[in-house]
């Protein structure tokens, strides 16, 4: 019975780790669904292809070649090394060791590939760390990156370093044990990288080597499970959400801003000469609450926009391309996404505590995002273009402008002037519409 203790322990840890993660993911999905429903139409073919190209194929990452190539290395490493995790899980549950070893030569290739990738990931992650902490690239130093976001980014890198080191050390000890002919350690695998680490353990007893190997093995898998559960609290959720986010990304030209349907109905009524302004409301019409124009809080945003917020990994490519940000304005598209997520998390916790959302006197606009940020945008779409995983910060800015103008009449004074001109004489400047053709004779 005692012989099965490790198997039980492993199963327990695995269930707890995956279970905890599933619970948090459910929370993420619930929070995203707090947004307005979106009709995505039936363009699934195009959507799958976008996902394959942008998320799976990393097509937009390489716009910036250095970080792009490094990212592809880490991403490929992450995905492929997970095959090894599958073996680890099966071994853990069955109490076997290197159960895939029966594949023979192919297994050697696999393990060798994992090792090369582990080394590449290690190098990539170290360069990433240097870029953030030594080279101090500007987009990692924006005001919104102070405190937790900065630590979060480094913690992720430390996790990956530790996991890769554990993996390689485990293999090194395993290699030594294989060479000693230790009973449990079948001779399998090819260890191009860890064979350089193995000499550290020269002269160690078999028992000590087993302790090293087992410790690394357990810490590695437990580390992966902790990392999995860390995602929910971190910007690192992008490793999962990049896929749905690119799937649900916009398919229309970036210049096309959606027309508000509620407004269309009212404008049509206004312009219809046959409409009776004094007509009694249709008694059959459902009692819908009056529509709120634009967005002042996360609940006014769409599910796509909320998914965007959870997907953002705070790389800051949007902010570094933003003309307003580059000229010292307060606007940072990345901060718009971070604020949206923070507020959504706050609303989610509110719901967890109260069963339903209880007004907390706060909202996204004003308490998180200032009017100054909203009015600094030139709607140039540079942020949207820059995002490697189809996040659209501009749409949130536009929704907030709509709220400010249509619900609060809080447009900057000069804009009110321009809008009055458009309304009165059909041009943003105070020229008479009847003079519109005067240029011909000038």
């Amino acid at each position: 019975m005692l012989a099965y203790l490790p198997n039980f322990l492993f199963a327990l840890i695995l269930i707890a780790g995956v279970g905890c993660f599933a619970r948090n993911i459910k929370k993420v999905i619930r929070n995203i669904k707090l947004g307005r429903a979106v009709n995505y139409g039936d363009n699934n073919k195009q959507r799958w292809s976008n996902m394959a190209r942008i998320a799976l194929g990393q097509s937009k990452m390489v716009v910036r070649p250095i970080s792009g190539m490094l990212h592809i290395v880490v991403y490929l490493g992450f995905v492929i090394i997970n095959i090894e995790v599958l073996e680890i899980i099966i071994d853990g549950l069955l109490g076997t060791h290197r159960i895939f070893a029966f594949m023979g030569g192919f297994y050697d290739v696999l393990i060798a590939t994992f090792e090369y990738l582990a080394l590449l990931v290690l190098i990539g992650v170290i360069v990433f760390w240097l870029r953030r902490n030594v080279q101090r690239i500007k987009r990692f130093l924006s005001p919104e990156m102070k405190g937790w976001p900065k630590n979060d980014a480094n913690i992720i890198l430390y996790f990956e370093v530790v996991l890769m080191c554990l993996f390689l050390t485990m293999n090194a000890a395993d290699l030594q044990l294989q060479q000693l002919g230790s009973a449990y350690y079948v001779a399998a695998g090819n260890f191009p990288i860890s064979s350089f680490i193995a000499p550290i353990f020269d002269g160690m007893s078999e028992a000590s080597l087993i302790i090293v190997e087992r410790t690394c093995w357990w810490l590695h898998i437990v580390g992966i499970l902790i990392f999995l559960n860390y995602l929910y609290f971190s910007k690192h959720l992008h490793i999962l959400l990049a896929f749905p986010n690119t799937f649900y990304g916009r398919l229309t030209p970036k210049g096309e801003f959606a027309n508000l349907e509620a407004v269309t109905n009212e404008v049509k009524l206004m312009m219809d000469p046959n409409a009776d302004p004094f007509a009694a409301p249709d008694p059959d019409a459902s009692e819908e609450p009056p529509v709120k124009f634009g967005a002042s809080d996360v609940l006014d945003l769409s599910t796509t926009q909320l998914l965007n917020a959870y997907t953002c990994t705070e790389c800051g490519r949007c902010t570094s391309e933003c003309p307003a940000n580059q000229t010292g304005k307060k606007l940072s598209p990345r901060k718009i996404m971070m604020d949206t997520r923070d507020r959504l998390q706050e609303v989610g916790k509110n719901i967890d505590a109260n069963g339903t959302f209880v007004d907390d006197g706060k909202q996204l606009l004003g308490d998180y995002i200032s009017h100054e940020e909203i009015w600094a945008c030139t709607t140039c779409n540079a942020c949207v273009e820059a995002c490697p995983i189809s996040i659209d910060p501009l749409s949130i800015i536009m929704d907030m402008r709509q709220y400010l103008v249509m619900e609060q009449s809080a447009a900057p004074t000069e804009l009110n002037g321009a809008m009055t001109n458009i309304e009165n004489n059909g041009a943003p400047w105070p020229y008479n519409q009847m003079d519109r053709l005067n240029w011909v004779d000038e």
């Binding site: 003309p323 240029w439 004779d441």
Partner: protein
């Protein structure tokens, strides 16, 4: 008053029972802004030269609503849009060309949902098609070999993925096109979009148009080519702010093509 140019209106066409090949949407800047009016005239000259059967709406044209929409005033936008659509549909407009990327984007992308379905072209696209059809000849003339950089308008480039039409025209002008570091899909905005044209910028450490003009000047151009009346204003102001107005001109591609032929 300079030489008289003939600009028929849709109303005149209708009176004669005719429908023009294309509606030239002049836009507010093209109608009222002194600098932009020159672009409008240059484009009209090219239309005549290529024997394009065109008309304008004249006093029946009104703001597309782009600045209102981008300022967040969806009501005003849709009122403008629906009024314009009513007028255009009444004239049975099929094809629209405009020298303003903002008008272009709005009519092309945002009018269909409100009942306005037209084939919409930016003037650089239209000129390119005239060129391809052999109706218009573009040759270098005085611009041959000149060092020129092109500033991509956001609403033509990123918004609608058109980066090549203006560049092809510049190529035909036989200029030496020098790209800025931030060009095409990564082009920096001139600072006018999103209704910023009509307000003071938010507090910062620099004006966007100065930042962009400085970048353009690093390519040592003789001319900064533009394809949007608002970019044109912003870049012209930028050139003035950097005290280079004696050395560097900001010109619309249509003006360059017209000038090259001494139109």
């Amino acid at each position: 008053m300079s030489e008289q140019i003939k600009v028929p209106t849709m109303a005149q066409y209708m009176n004669e029972g005719k429908v023009p090949e294309v509606l030239f949407w002049v836009g507010c800047a093209g109608s009222f802004d002194d600098r932009a009016k020159k672009i409008t005239k240059a484009f009209v000259k090219l239309l005549h030269k290529a024997k394009v059967d065109f008309a304008v709406l004249g006093t029946e044209e009104s703001c597309t609503g782009d600045p209102a929409k981008r300022a967040g005033n969806e009501f005003l936008f849709q009122m403008q849009a629906m009024t314009n659509i009513e007028v255009m549909n009444a004239y049975e407009v099929k094809k629209v060309v405009t020298a303003c990327p903002h008008c272009f984007n709005t009519i092309k992308n945002e009018y269909p949902g409100l009942g306005g379905n037209y084939e919409v072209m930016h003037h650089t696209q239209f000129l390119k098609s005239l060129l391809n059809e052999g109706r218009l000849k573009v040759a270098g003339g005085k611009y041959k070999g000149k060092r020129i950089t092109f500033h991509d308008p956001c609403y033509l480039g990123r918004a609608n993925n058109e980066y090549e039409a203006p560049r092809e025209l510049l190529q035909k002008l036989e200029v030496e096109l020098v790209e800025m570091k931030r060009c095409k899909s990564r082009g920096l905005c001139c600072g006018a979009g999103g209704a910023q044209m009509y307000k003071e910028p938010e507090p910062g450490n620099k004006d966007i148009n100065v930042e962009r003009t400085e970048e353009a000047l690093t390519t040592q151009p003789e001319i900064i080519a533009a394809a949007c009346p608002f970019c044109n204003t912003m870049m012209t102001d930028g050139v003035k702010a950097t005290e280079k107005e004696g050395d560097v001109a900001v010109m619309d591609i249509a003006e360059m093509i017209a000038n090259a032929q001494d139109l």
